[in-house]
């Protein structure tokens, strides 16, 4: 309850600062609309139904992209953590791929993967992959060597040591990567939509910004994206609390 109260106070403070900025700066609404104007525009967007389809499409991309990217990253991270050879072979490619701006690559991926949902999920998964893979590798490597030695002495096979020791002990670090990854998944979905899509919150931002000059609607879409990011982040934190004992 105290946590919820703190969040509400923080939100109220943010809205007050935003409102003050519009009043003091005397910005026209096409530069910086006031919070109540954005709220009113959001209510209209909800009532007209324009928001639902776009939000649903982005949610689907986030869920599929994060699931695919996180699964691949967890498996790769475990392999990287357990084998120095695998790390030496793969890590240059992983780091190089991370260094390439996804914004530059996305239009090509859009064409290579047929331009549909698959292309957007791939782009989203790529952006999610790096922090989770690296966190998993670091977590696996941070396993207590004494416990590992004990399991070995008890005759545990490599797969058993991974399942019973390395993954559980790596979970706090892995969840750190998942927290970062899930917020990046939202960005990834928008980047993917900017590379090519007919529906989604990224598309709505483009339409509102470039097509309608409707800055308030653009802020509504940004607020929904922020909400999706917060919701998924909170979900990861909830799962973490259930799985990780400190």
């Amino acid at each position: 309850m105290r946590r919820l109260g703190a969040a509400l106070v923080s939100l109220a403070a943010f809205l007050v600062v935003w409102k003050l900025a519009t009043v003091i700066g005397d910005y026209p609404e096409f530069i910086l609309p006031a919070p109540e104007e954005v709220l009113e525009r959001g209510a209209r967007a909800v009532a007209s139904g324009v928001l639902w389809g776009h939000t649903g499409a982005t949610l689907l991309e986030v869920v599929l992209g994060f699931t695919a990217g996180a699964t691949a990253a967890l498996l790769t991270g475990i392999a990287l953590g357990k084998s120095v050879l695998v790390e030496r072979v793969l890590s240059p490619y992983i780091v190089a791929a991370q260094a390439v701006p996804i914004l530059a690559l996305a239009p090509l991926l859009h064409i290579w993967f047929g331009g549909g949902l698959l292309a957007r999920v791939v782009i989203c998964a790529l952006i999610v992959f790096f922090p989770i893979a690296i966190a998993t590798m670091v977590g696996i490597r941070s396993t207590d060597p004494l416990l590992d030695e004990m399991l070995r002495s008890l005759g545990a096979r490599p797969a058993q040591r991974t399942r019973l020791l390395e993954i559980p002990s790596a979970l706090p670090v892995i969840f750190g990567g998942l927290r970062v990854g899930v917020t990046l998944a939202v960005i990834g979905a928008v980047v993917a939509e900017w590379a090519g899509a007919s529906v989604g919150l990224g598309v709505l931002i483009n339409i509102a910004n470039q097509g309608l000059f409707d800055t308030k609607l653009m802020f509504v879409a940004l607020a929904v994206l922020a909400g999706i990011g917060l919701a998924f982040y909170g979900l990861v934190v909830l799962v973490e609390r259930r799985l990780v004992t400190r």
Binding site: Y27, P28, I111, W194, G196, Q210, L212, F213
Partner: protein, 328 residues
Amino acid sequence: MPPSRAALAILALLLVACQGPVPTATPRDELRQVTLLLGYRPDVQFAPFYVAQREGHFAAAGLEVTIEHRQAPDVQRLVADGQAEFGVADATDVMIARTAGVTIRYVSTLYQSFPVALIGAAGEVPQDPAELAGLTIGTPGRFGSSWHALTAILEAGGLTVDDVTLREYPQFNQAEGFANGDVDLITGFRNNEPLRIASRGTEPDLLTLDDLAPLPGPGVVAGDDLLADDPELVRAFAAAVAAAQAEVIADPDIGFAAAEAEVPTIGEDPETARAVLDATVELWEGDQFADGAVDRDLWADAYETMVRLGFIDGSVELDEMIADLSGT
């Protein structure tokens, strides 16, 4: 015997005195500084502005112009907010922006012909828009002049966007999608995409708006405040641009030379850049170059088209979207 330093100094003073007054244009510190916002990157299509800068048209008009590049929606917003004096924008975007409360007006025409068309392979572009039904069309998205052109062409054929399959390329790479065989036709700029398609070995063909639903092309915009406070400045700027544009139309070499100095990418493929400029000159001219004059009748027809297509609701009068510089 070498001359003394004093003798040299006297000689120098005499030489300076004999030169008399140096003829000057408007002194630099007396020029009015203004900012012009163009599209998102330097391009040969902006040659009139480079020529106006290089050949002194702006300076002769008493202006020192700083050219900056911004994304389309930011141009309109920054000009309306007074953060820049002038910008270049699509006429159809001006109608929508103005209706949305962005206080800009279109003050001078750059393109006599609407530059966007439907483009495809020769023999595969229907000349009757009704025959577009069932085709797959690539376009940047549901915004901007490409979208307005596409919906206007479809409407001219009694169709809507539901009668075609759309594929969106927000990064403006629909020509790559066309080359990949993903779409039958693309929307694109008549002075650009056909050249890109031709460079890949496909002879292009076009379906233009000219005879279907004419729309005004891109032009210069200014903010309401500037128009109210200093219409003479706007008039001087528009006249300088029109003079430079007429110069480029008469001799594209002048425009190309100015663009080469401003556009770093021209050096990579000067032949294509020159072809783009030549195609752009044709669009500037249209039926007849009119020194930037705003064709109110064309705007009135386009206004009705934009209302019919649902892009604007008619709540803002046409006369609030354009400025008659001859009367202000």
